[in-house]
């Protein structure tokens, strides 16, 4: 009898544990869909972009052009046999990603004071987001529908990390703003991740 009771108790315990595990799993599925959330993905992509952009700006362009004066960086880098500007470096990367056709996210660099007018905010999300990140200095997240497709859209402040950034913009003939300084938010990085199928 004692033996039977023990057997029953073990089965009950196993049942409770199994039920609890199943319940926990169900709860997990309900609370967070599997995979990486668009925001985590956008933040991760931006972390890489920002790191590479800062390294190139500080340790290649600013060091070689502004400090050691070894080589210039130029918008017309091919003609002038010069370094690619940090913004061009960023855009070239974005274009290569787009051309690869391997991924569906896209990214770009925009500003309220763009040297090239094509890079001023166009969509409502860009306009609101840029105003917000300029005010708060923090990232901004929203969703938007463009061309019939829904996107998770994230904007991150793009900051003047070195004198090369603000001196070039302040002196550029097409810059609408000529008083940028170190640490200013000069624009924003926009990352778009398509939602749904």
């Amino acid at each position: 009898m004692n033996q039977q009771m023990k057997q029953l108790s073990r089965l009950f315990l196993l049942g409770v544990v199994t039920f609890n595990m199943a319940a926990c799993n169900t709860a997990k599925v309900e609370s967070a869909p599997p995979g990486i959330s668009p925001q985590v993905m956008a933040d991760s992509l931006h972390a890489v972009m920002e790191a590479d952009r800062t390294v190139y700006t500080k340790w290649i362009v600013n060091r070689l052009q502004n400090e050691e004066k070894v080589i210039k960086a130029s918008e017309h880098w091919k003609d002038d046999k010069a370094l690619v500007l940090p913004a061009q470096m960023f855009r070239m990367g974005a274009e290569r990603v787009a051309e690869s056709g391997k991924v569906s996210f896209s990214y770009s660099l925009i500003s309220l004071w763009p040297v090239n007018k094509q890079n001023e905010p166009k969509t409502e999300a860009e306009k609101t987001g840029l105003a917000e990140i300029n005010k708060t200095g923090k990232s901004y997240y929203t969703e938007e529908t463009l061309g019939g497709k829904k996107y998770f859209t994230a904007l991150y402040p793009d900051i003047a990390v070195a004198p090369a950034c603000y001196s070039c913009h302040n002196d550029h003939k097409d810059s609408p703003k000529t008083d940028f300084k170190l640490g200013d938010v000069m624009g924003g990085v926009v990352i778009r991740i398509p939602l749904g199928t």
């Binding site: 918008e75 017309h76 091919k78 003609d79 974005a94 274009e95 787009a98 051309e99 896209s106 770009s108 007018k117 166009k122 969509t123 860009e126 463009l146 061309g147 019939g148 497709k149 996107y151 003939k173 097409d174 000529t178 008083d179 926009v190 778009r192």
Partner: protein, 451 residues
């Protein structure tokens, strides 16, 4: 009736003559290969995507090299979705539709010429000089191109704004004697004598032929008869003597040049596995007696003499008979060419047909600068502003070059006078920059006063 039609079209589909399926005349760019339907229509279904792959397979490399101002990646960015809805520039066929002769304009563009308006309607806000300019003049006025703006962008205009009509040094690049990239064999490139020629006894008896060969860079660099005349049979893999080797033999050493030739209008039919181009199928005006001369390397270079000077003028004028070509020999460019040939002017001063239409270009290969001839004569032909950087600016200032290329009558007369048209791009660029700088300086002055 239906069965009869099905049998008829079925037989046509499998036959060589597929002209029944040609739905409309093709443009000057594609008419030579219009009967090779599957070059563009690689699949029966798939729409613009399939055609796009075909466009890119022939034109993609050029688009990259000319730093296309409107690459596809600009339009795949979702932020430009609104623009794509107006003009789907992700696909070449949005602007360049084939088989629509009634709609085709310059460069095979089938859109109304004012299409820039669709995205740049507010240009006058940023460029007051453009206020009231009709949008159909953006690309037709000599100021902008949709794809290639390497000689037209504002900073380039400014950089070259003060150049005189004639530059102090007027000179085209000199071809390097060592232009073949790959040697024909492992033998040393030592000169060969006529006695060392490895052709048959009968051929060696041809005094004229032997004299032509022995005077060439081929003989001087150890390229013997068998190096060109021994051809491998593609099916059997066996090598045998070939009396009339084709471009495949030339390619062994001159692969860049042959690639260029096959990309242009002289060689595009061969590249498409069609019989060679002949002058009688050209759209441009050709001499009546040029008729059915099949275009290959030797049709311009000659089979054994390979006289590049002849290839640069005489060979062209054997076939080409348009007003511009006919006027060449009365032009100042020809005088320079003749004087260089007579050694009364320095090397690189002559201007032949090839100087402009098959220009020499410098490209770096494994760290070494090579000067080669662009054998794709369509490379810089249209729009003609593509000639500015690689051709005109060797001798002329930018302002003069832009004006000359916009003067249709001047081109017809082969540049025998000064340009009568003036393109205002440089003037406007200078004025805009002057005003901008002034405004910025005033702004800085005001902010320092307020501090």
């Amino acid at each position: 009736m239906s069965i009869a039609m099905a049998v008829y079209f079925g037989l046509k589909l499998s036959g060589e003559d597929q002209s029944i399926y040609l739905v409309g005349e093709t443009t000057h760019g594609h008419h030579q290969i219009e009967m090779a339907c599957t070059l563009c229509h690689k699949k029966a279904f798939g729409g613009a995507g399939v055609l796009q792959d075909a466009c890119i397979s022939c034109h993609g490399e050029e688009m990259k090299l000319v730093e296309d101002s409107h690459p596809k990646s600009k339009f795949t960015d979702p932020r430009n979705a609104e623009r794509v809805a107006k003009l789907d520039a992700r696909f070449c066929v949005t602007c360049h539709r084939e088989h629509r002769p009634h709609m085709s304009g310059p460069m095979g563009v089938t859109l109304p010429q004012d299409f820039c308006f669709l995205c740049h309607a507010d240009i006058a806000k940023d460029r007051p000089s453009h206020k009231d300019l009709p949008f159909e003049t953006c690309a037709s006025g000599g100021c902008h191109n949709f794809h290639d703006n390497r000689a037209l962008y504002e900073d380039f205009l400014l950089k070259h704004s003060d150049e005189p009509d004639m530059l102090p040094i007027q000179k085209v690049a000199i071809r390097k004697k060592t232009s073949p990239v790959r040697p024909v064999s492992n033998r040393p490139l030592t000169p060969l004598t006529e006695a060392e020629a490895d052709a048959s006894f009968e051929m060696k008896a041809d005094v004229h032929l032997m004299a032509e060969w022995s005077g060439t860079a081929h003989a001087k660099n150890g390229v013997n008869c068998s190096d060109c005349h021994t051809v491998k049979n593609q099916e059997t893999g066996l090598e045998a003597w070939e009396n009339t080797p084709n471009e495949h033999a030339c390619k062994t050493c001159h692969d860049t040049q042959v690639k260029g030739f096959l990309s242009g209008k002289h060689g595009m039919r061969l590249a498409s596995d069609l019989p060679a181009m002949t002058p009688n199928i050209a759209k441009a005006r050709m001499k009546d007696d040029a008729g059915e001369k099949a275009m290959g390397c030797v049709s311009c270079h000659g089979a054994h003499a390979f006289d590049t000077r002849k290839a640069a003028v005489d060979a062209c004028l054997v076939c080409h008979d348009d007003e511009h070509s006919r006027a060449y020999e009365t032009s100042p460019h020809f005088v320079l060419f003749r004087n260089e040939a007579a050694d009364s002017e320095k090397a690189g001063s002559g201007v032949s047909c090839a100087s402009c239409h098959m220009p020499r270009f410098v490209h770096r290969e494994e760290g070494v600068d090579q000067v080669q001839v662009q054998h794709n004569q369509s490379w810089n032909l249209r729009p003609n502003e593509k000639m500015i950087r690689e051709v005109c600016l060797n001798c002329h200032g930018l302002r003069f070059s832009m004006d000359a290329l916009a003067d249709v009558a001047l081109i017809k007369g082969n540049f025998s006078e000064k340009p009568r048209r003036h393109i205002e791009s440089i003037d406007w660029a200078k004025k805009r920059v002057f005003e901008k700088k002034k405004k910025q300086e005033e702004g800085r002055g005001e902010s320092s006063r307020s501090l």
